[in-house]
């Protein structure tokens, strides 16, 4: 077991001791979300600005089923992953037709389409008020209403997701995706079907987003309209970038910093998105590469100075 794994596991165990359980849970949910985006952004070089589409679609679909049909948790999670993957397949199929700026704009525009659908379809989604009353049923006969019990479930799923993501990026598929990121033409010349590989990355990323969406809905008992909005898509991009994209632990660190900061600041000041915007600008102008790179630079500097 590597040191990074030990640190992660220690953090998972110790976090609820220091941080409020709801926030601790949200951190790992957001980290799962970020892991999915990072597969696209960090490993395939596809900047998706519409991840909230898959997150929100899964949250709404499963929230509806949980409310009206009282399905069990395992099935709910499976459906969430499936909805996330399916919506990502749909959106991804359109988006991989284009690259560069077009790609980003398309992911954003389709995100808007899902947003307006959710906004108008009030009978199912509750429109602007969100979809309240999402229950949190028992898992394998255990009651998970206590915050710490739910934290345990989410944390276990996060560790599982992290392990799966590590397997993905270290697999041949992961290497192909990275070769697309580094040199798309060469990957194509080597005989890989680049659009299809991109689509695979999209679907996998969507599946992670879907899982995160379901966990989010069960955490707060509501699917807010914001969960499918483009600001949410922007937040996960930001969290991944402050952590450092292209490294496995980047989005994990990023969501840790992002959720913790935004939860503490938003409690103090209602206009906190202003600070968020300022933080975006500062990070982009002065701290490119994120925490992981800053840490690497610090280590290199320490190493150099003895």
């Amino acid at each position: 077991m590597s040191r990074a794994w030990l640190v992660t596991l220690a953090t998972v165990v110790l976090l609820p001791v220091f941080v409020r359980h709801t926030i601790a849970t949200e951190i790992w949910i957001f980290a799962i979300f970020g892991l999915g985006l990072n597969l696209l952004m960090g490993y395939t070089g596809l900047l998706s600005f519409g991840q909230a589409t898959f997150f929100g679609a899964a949250a709404y679909a499963v929230g509806y089923l949980l409310k009206h049909y009282a399905i069990n948790v395992v099935l709910a999670l499976a459906i969430g992953v499936a909805v996330g993957a399916a919506s990502a397949a749909l959106v991804g199929y359109l988006c991989v037709q284009r690259s560069g700026l077009y790609f980003i704009m398309l992911t954003f525009a389709l995100n808007q389409m899902f947003y307006f659908t959710a906004y108008q379809w009030t009978t199912v989604t509750g429109g602007e008020d969100g979809m309240p009353g999402v229950p949190r049923p028992e898992v394998l006969g255990l009651d998970i209403h206590a915050p710490l019990a739910y934290y345990t479930v989410v944390a276990l799923l996060f560790v599982l997701a992290l392990w799966i993501m590590r397997r993905i990026v270290e697999s041949p598929l992961g290497k192909i995706l990275q070769s697309i990121r580094d040199n798309e033409l060469r990957a194509e010349a080597l005989g890989y079907n680049v659009p299809r590989m991109k689509l695979v990355a999209f679907v996998l990323g969507g599946a992670f987003a879907g899982l995160a969406g379901v966990l989010y809905a069960m955490l707060f008992g509501i699917v807010p309209l914001e969960a499918i909005g483009f600001v949410f898509s922007g937040n996960v991009v930001f969290a991944t970038l402050i952590g450092g994209s292209g490294s496995l632990y980047g989005p994990v660190i990023g969501s840790f910093v992002f959720i913790w900061l935004s939860e503490s600041v938003s409690a103090i000041w209602a206009r906190w998105p202003l600070l968020l915007g300022v933080a975006f600008v500062v990070v982009v102008l002065f701290l490119r590469g994120g925490v992981v790179e800053a840490w690497a630079r610090y280590r290199a500097w320490r190493h150099a100075s003895g």
């Binding site: 952004m41 900047l47 600005f49 359109l94 037709q97 284009r98 560069g100 700026l101 077009y102 980003i104 704009m105 398309l106 954003f108 525009a109 389709l110 808007q112 389409m113 307006f116 659908t117 108008q120 483009f230 600001v231 922007g234 991009v237 930001f238 970038l241 994209s245 206009r271 998105p273 202003l274 968020l276 915007g277 300022v278 933080a279 975006f280 600008v281 990070v283 982009v284 102008l285 490119r288």
Partner: protein, 270 residues
Amino acid sequence: MLYALMGIGLSIITGVLNIPNFAHGALFALGAYFLVTLIQLLGNFWLALLLAPLGVGVIGIVIEYGGIRPLYRAGHDYQLLLTFGLSLIVTEGIIIVWSPVGMSQLPPPILRGGVDLGITIYPRYRLFVMAAAALLVLGAWLFLERTRYGAIMRAGIEDKEMVSLLGIDIHRLFTAAFALGCVLAGIAGALTAPIRGLNPWMGVDMLGIAFVVVALAGLGNLLGSIVAGLLVGVAQSLVALVWPEASVAVIFGVMTVVLLVRPQGLFGIR
């Protein structure tokens, strides 16, 4: 027509600077708010309509100079985050300076009321907006096609390196292009204010639409932006007649169909 105006502005910015400008919608909203405040200060609609977009343009220059310039060599992800951050700052700034509650603005007295067009009675202000937007689109097109600066800007879309080799200050071109795009967004916002009223998030819908227009037209394709803007506008108002709830979603539907049939956009070459 307003969509065409937004589309051209965004098309110039994305085409020349090659960045995704997520602040475009926020600048649109800023144009509308500037208009309202200037009317309150000056008491003159026309002067305000002239000055509000220029104000947005000045803000655009500041943004380009301070924020975007250091990032030309960075990836799209950072440029996107920067403009996204800026749009959050502008939106929250609007909430702090004005208020989170929506506002309304009456058109000037001459343009109130309706005109009998024979078949139907149409609000006078909307006719004015259509005419004004058409003139502006025409003006922008003439500027880009017939003047020296327009030629430089189009050359910048084609090949930046060549333009700078010819001794043209590429940074000044970038600043000018960004400012021009911002001014167009500001005008569109100011013209919209008396029709739809104001709220801090009014730019978000517009941003999505502008992206669709640009994606349909092909990046940097200015004539295409005009046609695509009209197409989206007409499609939307036709659907709004029969099924109002779907009028926003239909825009994205149009885009989806076009991109499936012609992945390079209606007029795109790349």
